[in-house]
Amino acid sequence: MGMEYLIVALIAFMFVAALVAVEARDLLSSVISLGAAGFALSVIDLLLGAPDLAITQVVVEVVALVLLVRVVLTRTDTSVTAPRDALRTAAVLLAGGVLLVAAFVAVGGAGTDGAMPPFGEPRLSDPAAAPVEPVSAEYLAKAPDETGAANAVMAILLDYRAYDTLGEATVIFVSILGLYAILRRVGRTSGAARAGKGGTAP
């Protein structure tokens, strides 16, 4: 049970890092504390029995940090001075209160019948919930034999639910295409900035 306390401590650290990232005056500090939150999330993933996610989260975090630091570091407009917006902050806090109450009811605290399963007992297969088929217990039991892969998560991603992976490859493809389209210069040469030559040339 000591591990759950460790997970609570790590999520609290991630919350503090997220608050620092949101409220810091200097943009570089806020980006770096976002990196700290990402690394804490990677350790949380490892403790919760998800090593695939830990590896992927670490490398994705590093690349995202490099991108964000490159954007922030070479611009001169890097300190935030806008006054606080009271109306929007109040709206977010109200939404937060509503969400917390809904979460409390869903988890089943203080006498309400929860919709989410208690922590540590996921609904792997629920024969009482017919006609919904039990899924995760079957995946765990049959994945090594049917697919031949020892990693059940990979077997789910690339054999049982491969269509979702095709969808995800499409999403990444489209977002990279969007990036190329945004950064393209139409009608102008991409050499040194020809400021004197005027606008676009057909």
Partner: protein
């Protein structure tokens, strides 16, 4: 960031370890069905090798080494490879049917089409992110109005 790249120590270190980073990424992608990792993590690690080259040697050198049309080509090839893996299943049963023999559990030759699909995803994610980073670096070069 300055052109052409960083100091001599950084350049020599990058020369030594870029190959290892790329091989590590390919290893994590290929053994995704045995140990944690998979095609996505491997692809991002491979892209980070290209990021290291761009940061250490400057954008001009890196853009000549790994050109953008090359990245576009490999990106599209990875996506088409994944689709081919899916459509090949039609030969046997249906969409995405896993038809290669399952082999022995825990060995590299196991899992049917899963390592092949991991390889396609490695190529797609790696080339896509590398091309995106080079596009961002090259764009930055042409907007230097307030560079020191």
């Amino acid at each position: 960031m300055n052109d052409p790249g960083m100091s001599l120590i950084v350049k020599n270190t990058a020369r030594l370890i870029t190959g290892f980073i790329a091989v590590f990424g390919i290893y994590i992608a290929l053994t995704g069905h045995i140990s944690p990792g998979g095609g996505f993590a491997g692809g991002v690690i491979l892209a980070s090798a290209v990021v290291l080259v761009v940061l250490a040697f400057g954008r001009e050198f890196a853009a000549r080494l790994v050109t953008e049309p090359q990245c576009h080509g490999w990106d599209a090839a990875g996506a088409m490879g994944f689709l081919v893996v899916a459509l090949l299943g039609y030969l046997v049963g249906g969409f995405f049917w896993n038809f290669l023999p399952t082999g022995r559990l825990g060995h590299l030759y196991s899992g049917g089409m899963i390592p092949v699909a991991n390889l396609a995803i490695l190529v797609k994610v790696g080339a896509g992110l590398a091309g995106a980073f080079i596009a961002l670096a090259l764009f930055h070069r042409t907007t230097q109005r307030r560079e020191i």
